[in-house]
Every structure is written in structure tokens, then in C-alpha cells.
Amino acid sequence: MKTSGFSKFSAVLLAAALFQMFGMTASASAESADDNYKLYCVQCHGTAGTGKGINAPFLAVAPRNHSSAPDMSQLSDDNVALAIKEGGSAVGKSTQMPAWKSVLTDPEIHDIVKHLRKMCKCEYVKK
């Protein structure tokens, strides 16, 4: 009986540990590009990505229009990723665009760049 009780206790501990591990894994998992875009980008760039978010009227420099193929095709994927990760100043643009490296991982930033390419329906055109 004693051994059986101990085994039951061990099983509960093991289950709790697995649950904890699963929970930690889940919390550390990447968010979708769509969700990240909505939470972090939409406040300035807008739901449609046109640069007409709720904060846009109060910004000294208009947010980039992510739906514009002429504008977005001038930017390389690396340039866009750098702007997201390190902020606008890293690519010679406005400091109003903050660095999002504290909340977005490199793979998430990469996914957002792909998401932006879908929004503008364009690719980088090297000149």
C-alpha cells in the first residue's frame, strides 16, 4: 500500500511537471504574423495597413502604407526586418517607429515581413 501510495504521488508530480513543461512551451510558442501585426502594428499602420491607424493623426511622420506596392517594392526584406527589429532609426527613418525586438523573435519578424508582402502583393524590386 505504501509503495502504491508513493507511486500515485510520483505520478501526480510527473503529471504536474509535464503540465508545467507543456504550459511553458505553449507560452513560449510563436504568435501568428497576423496576430502580431494586429497587436503591434495596427495601432499606427491601421487594420488595412494603409497607414491610417488610430494613432496616425497624432504622428509627425505618416506611418508607411503597407498596402502600397510602389512603396513596399522599394524596400528589401532585410531592410523591413531591420526596421521592425531595431526601429526606424536603424534604416534612416523616423524614431516614431520603435524597435520591436523586445516582443518579437527573429522568426516572428521574418513571418511579419512575409505578411507585409502579402498585404502589398509585391516583392522587392532591386534597382
Binding site: 494586429k38 497587436l39 491601421g46 487594420t47 488610430i54 526601429g87 524614431t95 524597435a99 523586445s102
Partner: protein, 223 residues
């Protein structure tokens, strides 16, 4: 023996009264069902799905975040602090290609002066044990001009926050923010927003100590 008995009684009374008072405040918070909108125990939201489900700010570190006098007033007469709601994303209305925000409702609770004081006492016990105190160096002679240059021109805090009547609406207004927030918490939050709210849409900025103190002092001055 008689003196010892009186001393014991007084000690017991001294120990009992604060705990009874704290329990009363906890009771007010419980009766007011504050936990139906606010998280009263950690951890904070870890996923965007959890953020979207958030109805009101986390209160499990209220004692680190707020100034008690402000809490007492707010609990009696709640105001809107986040012009686009607790989670702006949930209040966006898109017309054509332009977003606007639906004004949020005020907190429905409105406590009596006595209940507000008791609830504030209780909320002030909810502290983050790791937060450093004494880090904000409040100096009445700080350079407001330098602070505004940093806040408006360099960091563009007004892109998301309403400052001196103008600015973005996705984040809390700075109107009266000096009354509302503990300067040490402001220092901590600005230094590392994600420590307090993993998925917050406030980006972490690399600021030196001089810049941190300018921001903290400017915020503390907004009363």
C-alpha cells in the same frame, strides 16, 4: 502581571486591527467582483489570445504601480485612462481604409469613500517583490525642456500617449499620470515593459540613466 496583561492585549489589538482592515478591503474588492474584469493574481497574459480576452488592467501588482491617494479617488469616481480601451485592438472600427476607436465604458464600480479607502489599502498590499524602490530620483528642478525634447521629438511617446492634451490613443493618457503612478514603477515599466506585461504593445527602449530620470520626472510632474 497586570501590566504584562495590558501590554499583551494592546499588542494583540495592534496586530489585529490592520489585518482586520486589510480583510475588509479584500472583502470590498471581492464583493465588487473586481476580479470579473481585472486579474487579481499573476501571471500576466502570455499570449495574444489572452491579451484580447483582457477586460481591464491587471491589479495583482497595484501596490507597486499606483499612488494610494489616486486609487482612493479613482475608486469613488472612475475615469477613462485608456482612450481606446484596455486593449485598443478590441475597440477598433474600420471605415474604408481608416481606423477609429470606439470610446470605452468607464469602470462600472463606484465605491463609497469608506469602501474606497479600504479597497485602496488592500490593493496597496499587492506588490511585486522584485521591483526596485528608490530608483526614481524626483527633482523639482529637472529640465522640463530637455524632457519634452526627449519625450516628444526623440522617443515620440506622444505617438501612442496623449500628452498635454495631444497625442495617440492606443495607450494610457498622461493626463494626471503623476498623481496616478508610483515613480519607481514608472522607472521599472519604461526600463522593461515586458517584465510587467509580456505582450504589451509598449516597445522597450534603450535609454540611459539621464533619459530615464528625465522621463520619470516629467511623468511625476503631470498632475
Amino acid at each position: 502581571m497586570k501590566i504584562r496583561g495590558i501590554a499583551t492585549f494592546l499588542l494583540a489589538l495592534f496586530l489585529a486591527v490592520p489585518s482586520a482592515f486589510a480583510a475588509d478591503g479584500a472583502g470590498v474588492v471581492k464583493a465588487g467582483k473586481c476580479d470579473s474584469c481585472h486579474k487579481m493574481a499573476g501571471p500576466t497574459a502570455k499570449t495574444i489570445a489572452e491579451i484580447k480576452a483582457r477586460k481591464a488592467p491587471d491589479l495583482f501588482y497595484a501596490g507597486s504601480k499606483f499612488n494610494k491617494d489616486w486609487l482612493v479617488g479613482f475608486l469613488q469616481n472612475p475615469t477613462v485612462i485608456r482612450p481606446a480601451g484596455t486593449v485598443y485592438l478590441n475597440n477598433i472600427k474600420t471605415t474604408g481604409d481608416t481606423d477609429t476607436a470606439t470610446p470605452p465604458a468607464k469602470c462600472a464600480s463606484k465605491l463609497s469613500a469608506g469602501d474606497a479607502a479600504a479597497a485602496a489599502d488592500y490593493l496597496m498590499t499587492l506588490k511585486d517583490a522584485k521591483m526596485k524602490t528608490g530608483v526614481a530620483k524626483i527633482d523639482a528642478g529637472f529640465s522640463k525642456a530637455r524632457a519634452k525634447m526627449l519625450i516628444i521629438k526623440t522617443e515620440a511617446c506622444n505617438g501612442c500617449h496623449e500628452i498635454e492634451g495631444k497625442g495617440g490613443i492606443s495607450c494610457p493618457t498622461w493626463e494626471g499620470i503623476g498623481k496616478r503612478l508610483n515613480p519607481d514603477w514608472v522607472y521599472s515599466f519604461v526600463s522593461h515593459p515586458q517584465y510587467w506585461d509580456t505582450k504589451t504593445w509598449m516597445a522597450k527602449r534603450d535609454l540611459d540613466e539621464d533619459a530615464m530620470q528625465l522621463i520619470v520626472n516629467y511623468i511625476a510632474s503631470q498632475k
